[in-house]
C-alpha cells in the first residue's frame, strides 16, 4: 500500500507541477484535475441535494424521513438516505461503487476504509479539513481524525469514537462467592472456576468464535486469553519489519491458554457455532458468568436484559486484567465518494454541519424535537420512545451520543452505566491501527484467515495439540503468509 501511495503521491506532485507549468505559460486550457482550489474549499457552493448510504442511521420505521426533512428545513438541502440491510451492507456499498453511481456520502467501517481509499474511489478531504473554518474544528478531538489518515491524507471523517469491547462480569455471582474483580490472569481463571462450580447449566465464559473473522481487530474479543498476542500481521519495532502474529511465541501461549480453559470447561463449548446474538441470549437467560462485549450503551442493555430473567442480577464492566488491554477500533468513517459533483460543499454542509456542536449535531445525534426527543417544561431534554417500540427510548439518530468526538453540551443525560463502562474501557484501552491493505493482501487474506480460523478451532477443541496446530498452519498458510510479508516488507 505504501508503495502505491508513494506512486500516487509522485503522480500527484507531477500532475501539480505540470498543471502549474501550463498555467504559468498562460495556457487557457481548463484544469482537468479533480483537486478543488482553496477558494472552493473555504466557501463552496451549497449542494441542492445530498445522497447518503448509511448503515447505522435511525431506521425508516422510526422516523428516518423526519431527520431528512428536518435537515432540509435547516439547510435547504434535500437529503436522500439509502439504508441497505445491515447484513448485506458492505456488499451493497461495493456494488454501488462498481455501478459507478455511488451515493455522495457513505458510512464505511475501518476494515473497508483503507481498501476503498487505496483503490481511489474516495475523495481526498485533507485540504478541506485543513482549511475549514467551521466550528467543528474548534471542538473536535483531532486524535480521532488523525486515526483515519493514510500516509497523512484524509479520505474519511470519523463519525464517533471507535469504541471496543470490555469484559462484563456477573457481579452478584462474584459477591456470592466472596471474590473481588480479578486483576490478573490467575485470578481471572480462578473466577471462572468458581463460576463453574455454581452448578449445572452455568457457562463461565461465552464468546462467538475465537477470531473476529470479518472485522479487524481480529482479537478484539477474548481479551484475557489473547493478552498481547494477535493473529494478524504486526509491525515489529525491533526489526523494522512486519511479522506474522499467528506464528509468534506469544500467540502460541495464547492458544495454550484458550485450549486449557476450553478443555477445563471454562469456555462455552459452543463457541464455534455461537453467533453474538446466541451469546447475548445465553447471558440474558442467566446462564453466563463472563462475556466480552461492546462498552457504552450495551452496558445498560445487557444488564437490563439479564435482570428480566433474574432481578437480582448485576453486571459489572471489569477493568482490564494486568496482562491485557482493551482495544479501541479505528472510528467508522463518513466518506465522500470521488464521483460526487460538489465534494467540498458536501463536506461543509453535511459532515461539518453534523459535527457543529449545535443544531446539526443535535439532529444527527438525537433526532428531531417532538419526534425523537422533547424539551420538558422544566427545561430538561429527554428522549422519546421509538415509533416501532414506544417502550424503548431512542438511543441515537445516527451518532452515538456517548461516543461523541466533539466537545458539546449534550442536553440528554444517559444512563450512568453507559458512562461508567466507557470510563473503565478508556482507562485500559489501546488504539487499533488501520488494517493493512494491498492487492497481494486482498488476494490472499480470505484463504489465510480461513486457515487461521480452522487451526485455532481445532487446537482449542483438542483435535490437535498447539504444536501440531502451528505445524499445520505453517504447512498450509506459508504460501499466503510469505506473499503478504514480501509485499509488506518489500515496500520498506
Amino acid at each position: 500500500m505504501k508503495k502505491n501511495f508513494a506512486r500516487k503521491a509522485a503522480a500527484l506532485s507531477l500532475s501539480i507541477v505540470m498543471v502549474s507549468g501550463i498555467a504559468a505559460c498562460g495556457g487557457g486550457s481548463s484544469d482537468s484535475t479533480t483537486t478543488t482550489d482553496s477558494a472552493d474549499l473555504a466557501n463552496p457552493e451549497k449542494p441542492e441535494e445530498i445522497t447518503v448510504m448509511m448503515d447505522t442511521i435511525i431506521t425508516a420505521e422510526n422516523g428516518q424521513q423526519d431527520v431528512a426533512d428536518k435537515y432540509e428545513e435547516n439547510t435547504g438541502i434535500k437529503l436522500s438516505i439509502e439504508q441497505p440491510d445491515h447484513n448485506n451492507y458492505y456488499e451493497k456499498v461495493t456494488l454501488s461503487f462498481a455501478s459507478g453511481t455511488p451515493a455522495n456520502v457513505i458510512e464505511v467501517g475501518s476494515t473497508y476504509y483503507p481498501e476503498f481509499a487505496n483503490t481511489g474511489v474516495l475523495w481526498d478531504m485533507t485540504d478541506a479539513w485543513d482549511q475549514t473554518t467551521e466550528n467543528c474544528k474548534n471542538i473536535i478531538d483531532e486524535d480521532y481524525v488523525d486515526a483515519l489518515r493514510i500516509d497523512g491524507r484524509l479520505y474519511g471523517f470519523p463519525m464517533a469514537k471507535g469504541n471496543g469491547t470490555i469484559t462484563y462480569v456477573r457481579q452478584d455471582w462474584l459477591d456470592e462467592a466472596g471474590l473481588a474483580l480479578p486483576t490478573n490472569y490467575d485470578e481471572f481463571i480462578n473466577m471462572l472456576r468458581t463460576f463453574k462450580q455454581r452448578g449445572e447449566g452455568t457457562i463461565p465464559y461465552t464468546a462467538a468464535g475465537f477470531m473476529n473473522n470479518n472485522e479487524t481487530p481480529y482479537e478484539i474479543y477474548l481479551r484475557e486469553f489473547y493478552q498481547d498476542a494477535s493473529p494478524d500481521f504486526v509491525y515489529d519495532e525491533a526489526s523494522g519489519q512486519y511479522i506474522d502474529g499467528f506464528a509468534q511465541e506469544n500467540f502460541k501461549e495464547a492458544l495454550q491458554r484458550m485450549r486449557d480453559a476450553y478443555q477445563e470447561g471454562l469456555i462455552d463449548a459452543e463457541i464455534v457455532t455461537n453467533k453474538t446474538s446466541t451469546c447475548r441470549d445465553k447471558l440474558y437467560s442467566g446462564l453466563v458468568g463472563v462475556m466480552n462485549y461492546w462498552a457504552g450503551s450495551w452496558a445498560q442493555k445487557l444488564e437490563d436484559s439479564v435482570q428480566n430473567a433474574d432481578p437480582n442480577a448485576k453486571l459489572t464492566a471489569m477493568p482490564a486484567i494486568e496482562e491485557c488491554n482493551y482495544i479501541e477500533r479505528v472510528p467508522t468513517a463518513m466518506v465522500i465518494t470521488a464521483a460526487a459533483d460538489n465534494p467540498a460543499g458536501i463536506f461543509k454542509y453535511f459532515i461539518m454541519y453534523s459535527h457543529d456542536g449545535g443544531e446539526g449535531q443535535m439532529l444527527f445525534t438525537h433526532g428531531v424535537e417532538g419526534k425523537h426527543y422533547e424539551v420538558k417544561e422544566d427545561g430538561t431534554t429527554v428522549a422519546l420512545g421509538y415509533y416501532s417500540n414506544p417502550e424503548t427510548l431512542v438511543e441515537k439518530s445516527f451518532y452515538a451520543p456517548e461516543l461523541s468526538i466533539t466537545e458539546w453540551d449534550d442536553p440528554i443525560q444517559l444512563d450512568e452505566r453507559i458512562y461508567s463502562s466507557l470510563e473503565t474501557f478508556e482507562a485500559d484501552r489501546v488504539f487499533a491501527s488501520l488494517p493493512l491493505t494491498s492487492d497481494v493482501i486482498s488476494e490472499n487474506l480470505a484463504n489465510l484467515n480461513t486457515v487461521k480460523g480452522e487451526v485455532l478451532a481445532n487446537v482449542v477443541h483438542g483435535n490437535m495439540s498447539v504444536d501440531e496446530g502451528l505445524e499445520d498452519y505453517q504447512t498450509r498458510a506459508s504460501g499466503y503468509v510469505d506473499a503478504i510479508l514480501a509485499d509488506l516488507n518489500g515496500g520498506e
Binding site: T119, E443, H461
Partner: protein, 336 residues
C-alpha cells in the same frame, strides 16, 4: 391425361400444389401471439442473455481500482484468473464438497420425494391427505436461518466442553444420552464426521414435502384402468406400485432429476448458515468460497468472481448435457 381427367371429372391430387403463405403473411396472421410473446422475450434477453456479456470479465483484472480510475477491465491478464482458481487448494476442496453435497442431496431428494408422494397418494381420506400435505409443505416456507437455529438448538452438545454437565444439551443429545446410545454429548454441527449427515437431514426435512408436489400431480394422471386391470390379474399393492406407478413416474423423475442437476453448483445459503471453522474441510462449497474471496472482501475482485461463476456454469452444462445423453441412450428420450 390432364384433358382426360377434366372430361372424366376425376381429380389428380398429385398435381395439386398448396401454396404456403409467405413468412410475412403468416407473421401478420399470428401477430397477436408474437406481440404477446414480446415481453417474455424481452425479459429473457435483458435478464439472461445480456448479462452473459459479463463473461468477458473472467479474462480480465477488474476491481474497484479499475472502476475508480475509469480504465475499465484489464484484459492483458488472459487466463490468470483460471490459473489462480485451479492452483487454489480451497477452491478445489470446495468444488469437491459442492459435488458431494449436491449430488448426494439430489439422490436423497429423488428417493424421499417419490416415496413420500407414493405414501401420500395412498391416504384415502381427503382431509387427512390435505393435513399431511400441509404439514410436509410448511418447512419449505421457513428461511434457512430459522432452520439452522432450530437444528442448532435440537442438536446442541451443551455448553460444557467436558461433557460432565448435560443440562444444557439439545433435545437429540438428551434423548440419545437417556436411551444410552451415547455416553457423552455429540457435537453434531462441529464434527467433520457428522456435519454432512445433519445437512442432508436438514435439507430433506425442509424440502421433501415441497418436492412431492410434482410427483403427486403425475400420480393423479395415471389411468385407474391400469390398476383395475392389474388387480384383476392378481397384482397386489406392491406389484402395482412396482409395475404401474413407478414406470408411469419415470418421465417425471427424469425431468426433475435433469433440471435439478443444472442447479447442483448453486448450493449456498443452506451451507452458509450451518458451517463453521471446524468443518470447512467437509462443508465449504464454491458459493461460500466465492463469497469469502469476493463479496465479503473489502476489495472485490470481479474478474476472479466471474471466472468462478463461468467455471460453475460450464460444469452445470456438462452435467446436464451428459445426463440427457445418458437418458437418450437408455430410454430413447431426454428432455433437451
Amino acid at each position: 391425361m390432364a384433358d382426360e381427367s377434366k372430361t372424366t371429372g376425376t381429380i389428380d391430387y398429385d398435381s395439386i400444389v398448396i401454396k404456403k403463405p409467405s413468412l410475412w403473411v403468416r407473421a401478420y396472421k399470428y401477430r397477436y401471439f408474437y406481440i404477446m410473446s414480446l415481453p417474455v422475450l424481452a425479459v429473457l434477453f435483458v435478464f439472461h442473455y445480456w448479462p452473459m456479456l459479463g463473461i468477458r470479465y473472467a479474462f480480465s483484472e477488474y476491481g474497484l481500482r479499475q472502476i475508480a480510475t475509469g480504465q475499465g477491465p484489464d484484459y492483458s491478464v488472459g487466463l490468470a484468473n483460471f490459473e489462480r482458481l485451479f492452483s487454489d487448494s480451497f477452491f478445489l476442496q470446495s468444488l469437491k464438497n459442492t459435488l458431494i453435497l449436491s449430488l448426494v442431496n439430489l439422490a436423497l431428494s429423488m428417493v424421499c420425494s417419490v416415496v413420500i408422494a407414493l405414501m401420500i397418494n395412498e391416504i384415502q381420506h381427503a382431509w387427512g391427505k390435505k393435513f399431511v400435505q400441509t404439514v410436509l409443505y410448511l418447512p419449505h416456507f421457513l428461511s434457512w436461518v430459522v432452520v439452522a437455529s432450530i437444528f442448532t438448538l435440537l442438536l446442541s452438545a451443551g455448553a460444557d466442553s467436558t461433557g460432565a454437565d448435560s443440562t444444557t444439551v439439545g433435545f437429540i443429545n438428551a434423548i440419545l444420552l437417556k436411551v444410552g446410545i451415547i455416553d457423552e454429548p455429540v457435537a453434531f454441527l462441529s464434527s467433520t464426521e457428522t456435519w454432512r449427515g445433519v445437512w442432508y437431514i436438514a435439507n430433506r426435512w425442509k424440502e421433501t414435502g415441497w418436492g412431492t408436489i410434482i410427483y403427486l400431480a403425475a400420480l393423479s394422471g395415471i389411468s385407474p384402468d391400469l390398476y383395475e386391470a392389474a388387480e384383476i390379474d392378481g397384482a397386489g399393492r406392491l406389484k402395482q406400485t412396482w409395475y404401474i406407478t413407478l414406470p408411469s413416474l419415470t418421465n417425471t423423475i427424469l425431468v426433475v432429476f435433469i433440471l435439478n442437476l443444472a442447479k447442483v453448483m448453486n448450493v449456498f445459503e443452506s451451507v452458509f448458515v450451518f458451517y463453521n471453522d471446524l468443518v470447512y474441510a467437509v462443508s465449504d462449497v464454491i458459493q461460500c468460497y466465492t463469497y469469502r474471496v469476493g463479496l465479503a472482501s473489502a476489495a472485490p475482485d470481479y474478474g476472479y468472481s466471474t471466472a468462478i461463476g463461468l467455471f460453475k456454469s460450464v460444469v452445470s452444462l456438462i452435467l446436464v448435457t451428459a445426463s440427457d445423453i445418458v437418458s437418450k441412450k437408455i430410454r430413447g428420450q431426454g428432455i433437451v
